[in-house]
């Protein structure tokens, strides 16, 4: 016996109106972040004593720039998805919840765009 109405079941979207989309996106970005964060942590440990020239040289390496863009993008994507669930769980006032969700998304996209822009600027810059 199912309590879902036939149309809802047919669409497979459930009460959140998006089915398993959010859940899958959180998992996929999590899997992507496993190699990216490990690579970044190891890189940072290698450069603990590095001065600006070494870091600048590192940022000019094409594959480093690509991985950094992916790291920044998937980090903020994953963070937004995670913070969204936390807000949905603990904030029950509709207006406050909606405002916070919007704020989190705007802030996340702003930070991701800024991060990606500066990575590209460092990679292409002199």
């Amino acid at each position: 016996m199912s309590f879902r109405n036939p149309l809802g079941r047919a669409r497979g979207l459930g009460s959140a109106n998006e089915g398993t989309g959010h859940w899958m996106a959180q998992r996929i970005s999590a899997v992507a972040l496993i190699p990216l964060t490990l690579w970044f942590t190891v890189s940072m440990l290698h450069m603990t004593r590095a001065g600006y020239p070494a870091v600048s040289h590192w940022l000019h390496t094409p594959w480093v720039a690509v991985l950094l863009v992916l790291l920044v993008g998937s980090t903020f994507y994953h963070a937004c998805l995670g913070l969204q669930v936390v807000i949905e769980d603990y904030v029950h006032d509709t207006w406050l919840k909606m405002s916070m969700l919007m704020l989190i998304r705007f802030a996340g996209i702003l930070c991701a765009a800024t991060g990606i822009f500066v990575v590209l600027r460092a990679a292409f810059g002199g």
């Binding site: 998992r27 999590a30 899997v31 972040l33 496993i34 964060t37 490990l38 942590t41 940072m44 440990l45 290698h46 603990t48 004593r49 600006y52 870091v55 600048s56 940022l59 950094l68 920044v72 980090t75 903020f76 963070a79 995670g82 913070l83 936390v86 930070c111 800024t114 991060g115 500066v118 990575v119 600027r121 460092a122 810059g125």
Partner: protein, 131 residues
């Protein structure tokens, strides 16, 4: 329809403490804290892109004792969230739900996250600098 007087399922206060509940909330806490760490990452990238002066300032901030402390807490949180995230991925695949496995994997996450953090600290300071 009145929604105020519906019966509630038992909440946290009624359960005996278990490591699993602590690990669940710590996963969230580390996630929130790592979101702030992502801001530090963007700041570091901005400083590196702006040039030597801005980068020197960033090095000064991250090199201060409070900067180092924050970085190491972020490193531990990253390793914890990563290890426990992998634990979650196993659950998502339908594996590891036996009570004993749950506890073993839980303690394993703490051990690996702590070991990786210590290893990172050793590697960082062995090469003569902080993070």
């Amino acid at each position: 329809m009145a929604t105020e007087n519906r019966p509630l399922s038992p909440h946290l206060g009624i359960y005996r403490w278990q490591i699993t509940m602590t690990m669940s909330i710590v996963h969230r806490a580390t996630g929130i804290w790592l979101s702030l760490g992502a801001l530090a990452l963007v700041y570091w990238l901005i400083a590196a892109a702006l040039g030597p002066d801005a980068y020197a300032t960033a090095q000064l901030l991250f090199g201060s004792w409070i900067g180092q402390m924050l970085l190491w807490v972020w490193v531990f949180c990253l390793f914890y969230h990563l290890c426990n995230g992998v634990r979650h991925l196993f659950w998502d695949a339908g594996l590891g739900f036996e009570i004993k496995t749950l506890y073993v994997s839980g303690y394993t996450v703490w051990v690996i996250a702590t070991a990786l953090t210590i290893l990172a600290i050793v590697l960082a300071y062995a090469s003569g600098g902080g993070p």
